[in-house]
């Protein structure tokens, strides 16, 4: 390369003024050879030592320009085959696409154009417990989730809400996570979509989903909606069939109810089954750490553990310990202060409430209706309470919390119906309200904790053709009841028990919810209310809570309020001044102004 002459003042050098007369040549080795003819001022950044100037003859100075070789860090990400490839391999040539899946989307890497471009860009952030930089970058460098939806690689029936994208981004990288959104925000869809993405990415190969028995068909339906191409195995039937199903490897997702999992613990243990992901729906089922259900699900061999619940804390902060024993044994311990527990668990839990994320969801309005018992009811109630308290007092040291509960139940039943006369002040009010609801062309859910109460209500409301949905109705008959309630204009009222109707059902077409009696904890009541108040609700949901004045129901109502305060302490930044850590045995006995005759009694809702 031929050189060229540099001479005079270099204006481009900014504040450094340089006067030199030199020629420069770019040599093959990347250095600039500067032949200095005269040098008036030192070269900025170049020391005198690095330029040997010989005054008595033209000097040669070599200025290293390029410096050391630039250090580069490289990360190569694993490219494993997705679920479909494994499935195809297992199926051989016959499974170019899953059998019977006409609307099966293309594989994750087979794109097709799709609808409107995303407006948000939700990125996956690595959780704190992912330590290796390579692993963290793998998540940081993933495309925004919205691009998966609009890119056409997978088909989705609806575009999720932004907060749902955030939920998916939360679950995706986590090996231990609690999705604790308030009921009605779409935990099911978020879990299914994340499972689907992980399966297609090849990050997981087999999933076990455990849920309460009444929700199995709901999950099945939601999988068909949100991940129609994924074959499912529902674990059910006799033992031989179930054993075969547990070992069935052609579908990546198995769904089992809690009872089946407990019943098949030997199959799961002895046959060495292992899952890449185990998901517990309604995970409050394992809050009791010493229970068999908890013990069995904790023994399932798995790599990732997720818990889904709208109520991570129902009664006391220790409920969360039970869930974490499944996720991260020993991480939380019983007796920890709620605030401390909330801080430790923060990176593992995501919880959103409707009022924060669904600002366009119709409002939920509460009416607390204080009912004056009829004269006959009041008299029956008075006698029952006085005799009951007397009996409890007489029991002395033999008194247990169970005895107190029995009295509470009896009094609550009197508040519903007078057992002697059949009178019910609540029913009179309910009937009047329902007449109005039905006249307006709307539908209503009525909740009670007793099937007998529901039947008594049903007899009186025969002209409204009420439908029943409770634990005594066999599972196969339940879905048709819900279908009829939804579609039949002549059936505007559904009478439900808290146990059967509180979780997982989508009844957003019902604009009214009546709580005929109150459950022991607010979480269950919230679950019931949110059957109607959830995504898709066409209008406001009105919740009517009946409370019989001057009865045990009012005292329980006070307890429920205090439980809500506990929840707020753990899952909000603002600590209420009167926050409580749960019910003490004295408080339970205090319902009747009784003193506890013995040590602490564990409260079981």
């Amino acid at each position: 390369m031929s050189g060229h002459e540099m001479s005079g003042r270099d204006e481009s050098a900014g504040d450094a003024t340089l006067f030199l007369r030199a020629t420069q040549e770019l040599s093959a080795n990347g250095q600039v050879d500067v032949r200095v003819n005269s040098l008036d001022v030192g070269l900025g950044g170049v020391t005198a030592e690095s330029i040997a100037v010989e005054s008595w003859k033209p000097g040669i100075a070599s200025v290293p320009i390029r410096g050391d070789r630039l250090k580069v860090r490289s990360f190569y990400f694993p490219q494993t085959g997705g679920w479909r490839e494994k499935f195809a391999a297992a199926q051989g040539a016959k499974s170019a696409s899953p059998a019977g899946d006409a609307k099966s989307p293309a594989s994750a890497d087979e794109a097709s154009p799709k609808s409107a471009a995303p407006k948000t860009a939700t990125r996956i952030a690595p959780p704190r417990d992912v330590v290796k930089l390579e692993d963290r970058l793998y998540y940081v460098l993933q495309p925004p989730l919205e691009s998966v939806f609009t890119g056409g690689a997978l088909e989705f029936p609806f575009t999720p809400f932004p907060y749902q994208f955030e939920g998916i981004a939360f679950l995706y990288p986590r090996f231990a996570a609690v999705l604790a959104d308030e009921m009605g925000l779409g935990k099911t869809m978020q879990a299914i979509t994340t499972i689907r993405l992980l399966l297609h990415a090849g990050e997981i190969r087999n999933v076990l989903l455990v849920c309460p028995k009444p929700l199995v068909t709901n999950w099945q339906r939601e999988f068909q909606t949100w991940a129609g191409e994924l074959p499912l195995t529902i674990i059910e039937g006799d033992q031989a069939k179930r054993r075969w199903q547990w070992h069935q490897s052609e579908s990546p997702v198995k769904i089992a109810n809690y009872e089946v999992v407990v019943r098949d613990r030997d199959i799961i243990d002895d046959d060495g089954l292992k899952f890449d992901l185990a998901v517990l729906d309604e995970s409050q089922r394992i809050k009791n750490r010493s229970g068999t259900t908890s013990e069995v699900v904790r023994s399932i061999r798995r790599t990732r553990s997720w818990a889904l619940t709208g109520t991570p804390v129902e009664n006391s902060a220790d409920d969360l310990v039970g869930i974490f024993e499944f996720l991260q044994p020993g991480y939380l311990t019983p007796g920890m202060k709620p605030r401390r527990m909330g801080t430790l668990a923060a990176d593992y839990i995501i919880r959103r409430t409707k009022d924060k994320v669904l600002t366009d969801l119709p409002p939920k309005m509460f009416r607390d209706v204080e009912i004056e018992l009829t004269a006959a009811q009041r008299e029956t109630y008075r006698i029952a309470e006085e005799e009951g308290v007397l009996r409890l007092t007489d029991m002395g040291p033999g008194l247990t919390i169970q005895h107190v509960f029995e009295l509470v139940m009896r009094l609550k039943q009197v508040c519903n119906f007078d057992p002697l006369t059949g009178e019910s002040a609540k029913l009179e009010r309910l009937e009047a309200d329902l007449e109005e609801v039905v006249a307006g062309g709307r539908k209503a859910l009525v909740f009670s904790q007793w099937v007998e109460t529901l039947e008594q209500i049903g007899e009186r409301l025969g002209h409204l053709n009420p439908l029943y949905y409770h634990g005594q109705i066999p599972s196969p008959k339940r879905d048709p009841i819900l279908k009829r309630f939804k579609e039949d204009k002549n059936c505007p009222v559904l009478l439900m028990s808290y146990g059967a109707g509180a979780v997982g059902l989508n009844l957003q077409f019902a604009g009214y919810v009546f709580l005929y009696d109150r459950w022991w904890n607010p979480a269950v009541e919230d679950q019931a209310i949110n059957r109607a108040h959830r995504i898709g609700a066409a209008g406001p949901v009105t919740v009517t809570r009946f409370v019989a004045a001057d009865t045990i129901e009012q005292r329980i109502d006070q307890v429920l309020r205090e439980k809500r305060e506990l929840f707020d302490t753990m899952f909000s930044d603002v600590e209420p001044s009167s926050a409580r850590s749960g019910l003490t045995h004295d408080e339970i006995f205090g319902l009747f102004k009784l003193r506890s005759p013995q040590g602490p009694i564990k409260f079981a809702a």
């Binding site: 900025g44 494993t80 860009a121 793998y138 460098l141 993933q142 691009s147 056409g152 990415a201």
Partner: protein, 184 residues
């Protein structure tokens, strides 16, 4: 979310950004056609010394973006990308070191464009940009490599319609920040 084999890599996304304290960081992200990461390469920070500033003069920017950083990153790729997207004209200089089209993303609206420093593509070569439009995508090539238009069009045609060519740069910045954090 990654899947598919490495040979499916098509896109290289290369950018350089300046950190007040440390200097210039370069990042190269290789993606498959669905935008999923296959490889990521990033440089340690580099600061031109005074001699470089003086002796390279106006060509310093393209030297740094092209040869010093870009070429070093491309050398680490397990397979050369079939095209490379860049954010600034200076980075187009990396085309000298790869036999694949290198195109600058032109944003639809650049309200901040007036605030951006002006770059010379390469003082040693013909100045100017060659603008191209493929559907809704607006790009620019170094004029010297205007003939890349056709092969670039062929490569872009293989991408999904909604593949956002500007989006991966945010990932690169996020990754470099993450790497910086982990290095502290």
């Amino acid at each position: 979310m990654g899947s598919g084999d490495r040979s499916a890599a098509v896109g290289g996304f290369y950018t350089v950004f300046r950190h007040e304290q440390h200097g210039l960081f370069g990042g190269l992200l290789l993606l498959n056609r669905n935008g999923r990461p296959l490889e990521f390469h990033c440089t340690a920070p580099i600061k031109p010394n005074r001699a470089q500033e003086i002796l390279y003069g106006a060509s310093l920017e393209s030297y740094l973006h092209g040869e010093a950083i870009g070429a070093a990153l491309l050398a680490k790729a397990s397979a050369p990308p079939t095209f490379v997207c860049v954010e600034t004209p200076a980075a187009l200089a990396v085309r000298e070191f790869i036999e694949a089209p290198v195109a600058m993303i032109v944003a639809d609206a650049q309200p901040e464009a007036e605030d951006r420093p002006l770059f010379r593509v390469d003082a040693a070569h013909e100045r100017g940009l060659h603008s191209v439009t493929f559907g809704s995508r607006r790009l620019a090539l170094a004029k010297r490599f205007a003939a890349d238009e056709k092969p670039l069009a062929e490569q872009l045609a293989t991408l999904p319609e909604h593949f956002d060519l500007a989006e991966p740069f945010a990932r690169i910045r996020g990754a470099i920040e993450e790497a910086q954090r982990s290095g502290r």
